[in-house]
Symmetry: C2
Subunit: 401 residues, 2 copies
């Protein structure tokens, strides 16, 4: 025993990606010459704003130095300007720049919750929240939402019955990944009251904040007066400027103690990427019309995808109001089996489609087994073909059972 | 009590930066028009290789996409090539690209040690190890080394007496920050035997691996046959290519289970910066002559700095063989007080110098109180002036007490 070498159990506890099992099947399909439409991942095909690309191309530095741990001062100021333009009064001292929204989430988990503490999250939720929970020794406590209700938040009581002495925060993604749900003013007020009454942090992952459709209002967590000291915004340029590989995100909060704490975490990792921040600063000057064009495009994609899904027999898909995902309930028992079938047992005109089984977005065992997440991140021509393949696949899968 | 909002104790436990107290004094000195030579931080003034800068400037992408969680395939292959050239047989599957050496350290802490586990580290050590320890709930157990011995490793027994049932690894920085010490083949064999006999991981932070002087051999942790399955290398381009703000590092290990685990952590944060990796790939083609030139420059700087220090009455400074730091023992009781004095109570021809009090690099309370870390990262002209100011300051401080 003395010389056995063992890892910590964190690795074992880390959840596998919801699509991990599918990848070899997708590779095999491609090897057979079958074209696979990837609706399984939130990697948009939208072009990064040229002004941002240009910032890399005109880089004028002889030494790529460390920046401040909290972010480049010029970028932080530009960010504060952006929040001001969307109606949120944010001081630069209330912003910490992070290496993507991922690091922002990791830092916030660490700051608000100790080992053994709990964070309540409406499910289905972004699967990587599980990863940050494991890494920080925090437990995620799910509260159910349903496809039939468009994944709207349940009544306040459903949250309250999950609150314990270890509960530290409520975390939610708005607009939602994987659901696309955008919470109404009423839902946000309910969360506000809950956090205020129970002394909880309210952590909003708003990385899809610019992707809200149909004239719906997006209510930011920073726009809730009763929780000024406990609201935490997690943001990122990844989706906003279609720059997922530029690892730049941020934490915004008016809680000074929290900001001092996350800055300490930031100091331990020195700084976020310098050149990506220079590029992100350039992105901040992109005019509003950029988002308008992007939103128009996504509305077309969403309508095409959701209308197609809703027309399929037995499929439940409420048209979501934000982000670029939808979770559809399928007339199948095991959506993972179906997702494998699409790649392994089926093709339509040498084409097929890859989707993410939704069970991986639930913490409750067995939940979401008949659901898939579809990311409508391709152009409408491709999406149309992808949905045709999906429908034919669903039919074929039904016949096969 | 119900509505009190509280943070976790991780923030409180996070150690402050060793130079935190000095920063306002440095700012005030500058405001008074006094020039401050920064020997307090490892930010080299060496130019980033032009080929790397050029890679940003010729970026040819329309979308800055996510890369693979383990790193861009081309970059991983280039890295394997680099290790091959320096005599280490590394397969691309044994490499995970990280967001700087910082993330590599955080992932390795998480992978090898659970909450409450212990990692043994020779002190003084890189202060941010404390931060990663707090964030992962791991305890650092120090083993003393001394300025008088050039910070060489102590006898194996000194390590063995710190090993408990919770010990999971020995972590060391080689060449060392803050000491500049380069471990001999004998010291490395001692660690190898220790790790093999006690079933511990051996984690080597080799981010200064190219900064070894005087023809001394650098023995990598990957070059220890008895610990093939428990050797973990942490590396980074930050110092190597003077590109600290390009956040690109890596973990290298032949332990498949460990690599699978850190890949899971990597998946949770999606990917390291895409464009920085493209630039890092370009850096890999920089010829060996680049390092030779850099080493020559640092040897000059080291000799100037250490010769100056050694000539000062009561100062102990063994000339280190690597990195670009040295820890000097001073004839003062409280080196932090002296460091403040240099900024606040002293100037020589409108100039002074900022150094890092070394106590922050020790885990043992009270250790290193009479030591400072000096980073010889400025050109020799500036260094000479800085050391002149340092000597005059030390004299003035002595007279004042």
């Amino acid at each position: 025993m003395a010389n056995a070498v063992t890892l910590s159990d964190r690795g074992r506890l880390m959840p596998a990606s919801p699509i991990r099992k599918l990848v070899p099947y997708a590779d095999a399909a491609k090897a057979r010459g079958v074209h696979v439409y990837h609706l399984n991942i939130g990697q948009p095909d939208i072009e990064t704003p040229p002004a941002m690309i240009e910032a890399y191309r005109t880089l004028d530095r002889k030494v790529i130095e460390y920046g401040p741990s909290g972010g480049l001062v010029t970028y932080v100021k530009a960010l504060a300007g952006y929040y001001g333009r969307v109606g949120l009064d944010v001081d630069p001292s209330q912003i910490l720049v992070t290496t993507g929204g991922s690091e922002a989430l990791a830092f916030v988990f660490q700051a608000v919750a100790g080992v053994g503490d709990e964070i309540i999250v409406p499910e289905p939720f972004y699967a990587n929240y599980n990863g940050f929970a494991v890494m920080s020794g925090v437990t995620i406590v799910p509260v159910a939402t349903r496809a039939e209700d468009g994944f709207a938040l349940p009544a306040r009581e459903r949250f309250e019955e999950r609150i314990t002495a270890r509960t530290r925060a409520i975390l939610f993604c708005n607009p939602g990944n994987p659901t696309g749900a955008v919470y109404t003013r009423e839902e946000m007020s309910m969360l506000e009251g809950l956090a205020a009454d129970h002394g909880l942090f309210l952590i909003a992952d708003e990385v899809y904040r610019e992707f809200v459709y149909d004239g719906v209002e997006h209510v930011s967590v920073l726009d809730l007066p009763a929780v000024t000291d406990r609201a935490v915004l997690v943001d990122s340029i990844s989706k906003q400027y279609s720059a997922c590989g530029a690892r730049v995100g941020c934490i915004v909060s008016r809680n000074e103690e929290l900001m001092a704490t996350v800055l300490k975490f930031g100091q331990a990792r020195l700084c976020p990427p310098t050149v990506d921040q220079i590029a992100a600063t350039a992105a901040m000057s992109v005019p509003d019309s950029y988002f308008e064009g992007v939103r128009e495009e996504y509305v077309k994609r969403r309508d095409l995808t959701c209308d197609a899904l809703a027309s399929m027999p037995g499929v439940i898909c409420q048209k979501p109001r934000g982000a670029f995902y939808t979770v559809a309930k399928l007339p199948v028992e095991d959506a993972e089996q179906f997702a494998v079938f699409l790649l392994d047992g089926f093709e339509l005109d040498r084409e097929t489609v890859m989707v993410a089984p939704a069970a991986g977005f639930y913490a409750t065992a067995g939940a979401g087994r008949d659901e898939v997440r579809i990311a409508y991140v391709l152009n409408t021509t491709d999406l149309e073909k992808a949905m045709r393949a999906f429908e034919a696949g669903l039919e074929a899968f039904g016949r096969g059972r």
